[in-house]
């Protein structure tokens, strides 16, 4: 038992070490200031992905995971979406492939994007109600166990919907919603729940359709799911609590005087946040922003955009034409 724990700690330390090594390697090797953060983000996403894989392989109660993510989000907001989320990683990998193939991305029409953003809580609610709906439809289950038990711990766990994007595409279990190829179990966010909730027969088809549609969507439209993701919306909701405004928060800030309105920030944003361009100055408060810092990285004017944690500037825009200084 103790040995196992030590082994785990050791493994996680090695992982963290590898992550740091990756970041250092990028700092030294990536000479292009315009893509450094993007690469660093990949490293961190990969580490987060592996950590989640471990967590899943020890069957830690899902509720704990949920609490951990929400706890983190109190401070960091949608940082999770930009830097940690495995579904986000899938979509970012797709972007990478698309870029390599020199295929252009299609932006969502601005209006639609805004509508999706505005209705995020409604969409969240719908997603949360789905388990209950399926529970009602499932006559057998209705008989056996009461609603509350089902929704909190049973077959139709509500919060598993929120946890869905965190299902890595390689999972340490087999069975429902997974495919075993070359003895690796592949899964996909939401696939499992679709099958569990709807039942094997139709569920598998629906899950396949879901996978194909989101893959194609994510390939053509950057971070398409993040525009209305229920997890993102619930994080946003949590981040709204006024009581926590005193703790240091992570946010993007803009300096009006230094901004020339060149529009770069708006174009590079994968979730098409308009505020970062249209708002004149101050904190970019929209919960659409997932704090990926791509805009900060690409803004060509020193200090016009900043990623801040509380009062401290973590990273600010710079003249990315300059070769990086040895740090």
């Amino acid at each position: 038992m103790v040995g196992e724990i030590i082994g785990d700690i050791l493994r996680l330390t090695v992982l963290a070490g590898l992550g740091i090594a990756g970041i250092v390697a990028i700092l030294l090797w990536k000479k292009n200031l315009a893509t450094r953060v993007t690469f660093m983000r990949f490293v961190i996403q990969a580490v987060a992905f592996t950590v989640l894989f471990y967590i899943f392989s020890y069957s830690v109660p899902m509720l704990y995971l949920l609490i951990a993510v929400f706890g983190l989000s109190l401070f960091l907001g949608r940082f999770f979406c930009g830097w940690l989320c495995p579904f986000g990683l899938i979509m970012d990998l797709e972007i990478m492939v698309r870029k390599a193939l020199k295929i252009r991305h299609r932006p969502l029409p601005d209006k639609l994007n805004i509508v999706l953003h505005k209705s995020r809580y409604v969409i969240l609610l719908v997603f949360l109600l789905l388990p209950a709906v399926f529970w009602i439809l499932d006559s057998q289950e209705v008989m056996v166990s009461p609603l509350m038990a089902q929704l909190l711990a049973g077959h139709y766990r509500v919060y598993s919907v929120i946890l869905d994007p965190m299902v890595p595409f390689i999972v340490p279990w087999s069975g429902i919603g997974t495919i075993n190829l070359a003895s690796i179990n592949f899964s996909y966010p939401y696939a499992q729940n679709i099958v569990t909730f709807i039942g094997e027969n139709i569920g598998i088809y629906l899950a396949t359709i879901f996978v194909v549609v989101t893959l194609i969507g994510g390939f053509l439209i950057r971070r398409v799911w993040c525009r209305f993701c229920p997890t993102g919306a619930s994080i946003a909701a949590i981040n709204r609590f006024k009581g926590f405004k005193r703790v240091p928060l992570l946010y993007v800030e803009k300096d009006e005087e230094k901004c020339t309105k060149c529009g770069v920030c708006k174009r590079v944003c994968s979730v098409q946040v308009n505020e970062v361009y249209e708002q004149k100055s101050g904190r970019i408060g929209t919960s659409q922003c997932m704090l990926c810092a791509r805009c900060v990285e690409m803004c060509p004017y020193e200090g016009a955009l900043k990623l801040k944690l509380g009062n401290k500037t973590v990273f600010h825009s710079r003249n990315w034409l300059e070769p990086p200084k040895v740090e």
Binding site: A34, K99, K102, I103, R104, H105, D110, E256, E257, K258, C259, T260, K261, C262, G263, V264, R267, V268, K280, M298, C299, P300, N319, W320, L321, E322
Partner: protein, 450 residues
């Protein structure tokens, strides 16, 4: 083309604007104006050399290029003989990367000759901006080497003068107009402008016969990036104690408009290396207490319209120009093209945005007025530690003149003196300007003493 053919050609097309000037008169006028101009170029450079006895070696290259009737003209001529096309442009909004990508040579053809503005008076009234009149005049006597060499001209319809200038020049040149939106930061403007850019790409491709593909465009953008990097390096050096005369830096900046971009970049980097060493030696061009001046307003084109910088830097007491906010200056190169994904589509959009949205030209307004320019001025004043601003307007330049009161109001608030200097394309008012400029510098000095 021999004499007969030339006459034939001019006869065939009926001219809508330009008056007939006999070949003899043309040649005579050209000879005189050219001689004066060459003298002035030499004189200006001589004075710049004298102003800084330790003038960096690397500037020699730019002095060479600054001779409009010299090396660069011959080079372009021989490139043309090899079949390259030359595409001229007037306003800075012309997407030069597209020209470079199509293996053509971009050159800016705005005219700074005082004498030709008098000739322009034959076509348009004197109230019209002298830059326009001078360009018309230069065309009438075929003075400007680069204007003559261009096979086509991109004219972006920014101010009224430019709009009509393109019409007038269309008498003798192929003109491609580009319609630029006046409200620059709305989605529909950007969409419209991006369409113009795409259209221009097709036009350039058709004209040069060279396809602009992803690779060539990427290369062209990277060439621009390197140039911008060198330029920004130079600008950064000017933030500290003065290591280069403002005039020298401005000249370096202007030569980019007709020089080979790659070679220009190499030489600019070399200049920066030299200046960095100079800064280490603490070998300042002028005493660090010299008032630091910024110039903003109407563009000042080499070679004739060099009187203001000369007056400021050779004044008694002298000033030093540490920054400018002009389309003949930093606006040429300051903004990089922020390409995100390097697909054709994204590159074109990035080019569109760089030219339309990053610009602080007063021909724009936006939801909150042209506050971008104000903000940019404020940033520059802070970062370059500017002590006084000369707001330079040549009579007839409405847009800059009209924005003055807004600028003044803002600068008053931060207690930075600004001086409105209006002038003409003429050498006659130099004496009077000298008094005005020196009074302003005197005042800056007095403020500095407190």
């Amino acid at each position: 083309m021999n004499e007969e053919e030339r006459q034939m050609k001019t006869k065939i097309v009926e001219k809508k604007y330009l008056p007939e000037v006999s070949q003899k008169e043309k040649d005579e006028l050209r000879a005189t104006v050219k001689a004066t101009s060459q003298r002035i170029i030499a004189e200006n450079i001589e004075r710049m050399k004298k102003a800084d006895p330790q003038r960096p070696e690397a500037l020699k290259y730019f002095d060479d290029i600054a001779n409009l009737f010299g090396k660069r003209q011959e080079e372009i001529e021989s490139e043309k003989a090899k079949g390259k096309k030359v595409v001229g442009y007037m306003c800075l909004f012309a997407p030069t990367e597209l020209i470079t990508a199509a293996d053509a040579i971009p050159v800016r053809v705005n005219s700074g000759w005082y004498d030709t503005s008098k000739l322009g008076d034959r076509v348009v009234p004197v109230e019209v901006c002298p830059v326009i009149r001078s360009t018309i005049g230069a065309k009438m006597i075929e003075l400007s080497p680069f204007l003559e060499q261009s096979d086509a001209l991109i004219s972006v319809l920014t101010c009224d003068g430019m709009t009509k200038l393109s019409e007038i020049l269309s008498d003798q040149k192929t003109i491609w107009g580009m319609n630029i939106p006046r409200i620059k930061d709305s989605t529909q403007s950007l969409r419209f402008w991006n369409d113009e850019i795409k259209h221009m790409k097709n036009q350039i491709e058709k004209f040069t016969g060279n396809k602009i593909d992803r690779k060539s465009l990427k290369e062209a953008i990277e060439i621009s990036h390197r140039a911008t990097r060198a330029f920004r390096r130079l600008q950064k050096l000017r933030k500290g104690n003065p290591v280069i005369m403002g005039r020298d830096a401005m000249l370096v900046n202007q030569t980019y408009q007709w020089d080979d971009k790659v070679r220009w970049t190499d030489n600019a980097e070399r200049l920066c290396d030299e200046l960095e060493k100079r800064a280490e030696r603490k070998d300042w061009v002028v005493s660090p207490d010299t008032p630091r001046v910024m110039v903003t307003g109407t563009p000042m084109f080499w070679p004739d319209n060099w009187k203001l910088p000369t007056l400021v830097e050779e004044g008694n007491p002298p000033g030093i120009i540490v920054a400018d906010e002009q389309c003949s200056g930093e606006r040429i190169l300051n903004d990089p093209i922020g390409v995100d994904e390097w697909s054709m589509d994204d590159m074109l959009n990035a080019i569109g945005e760089r030219y339309l949205m990053a610009s602080t030209c007063p021909c724009f307004t936006s939801k909150d007025g042209n506050e971008d320019r104000i903000n940019w001025l404020l940033t520059k004043i802070k970062e370059w530690k500017v002590q006084g601003v000369v707001y330079y307007v040549i009579r007839g330049c409405m847009l800059y003149a009209m924005e003055y009161s807004r600028v003044k109001k803002v600068l008053d608030k931060i207690n930075v003196p600004v001086y409105y200097l209006d002038t003409e394309y003429t050498r006659e008012d130099v004496g009077q300007l000298k008094t005005r400029v020196e009074a302003f510098l005197e005042m800056l000095n007095a403020r500095g003493d407190f």
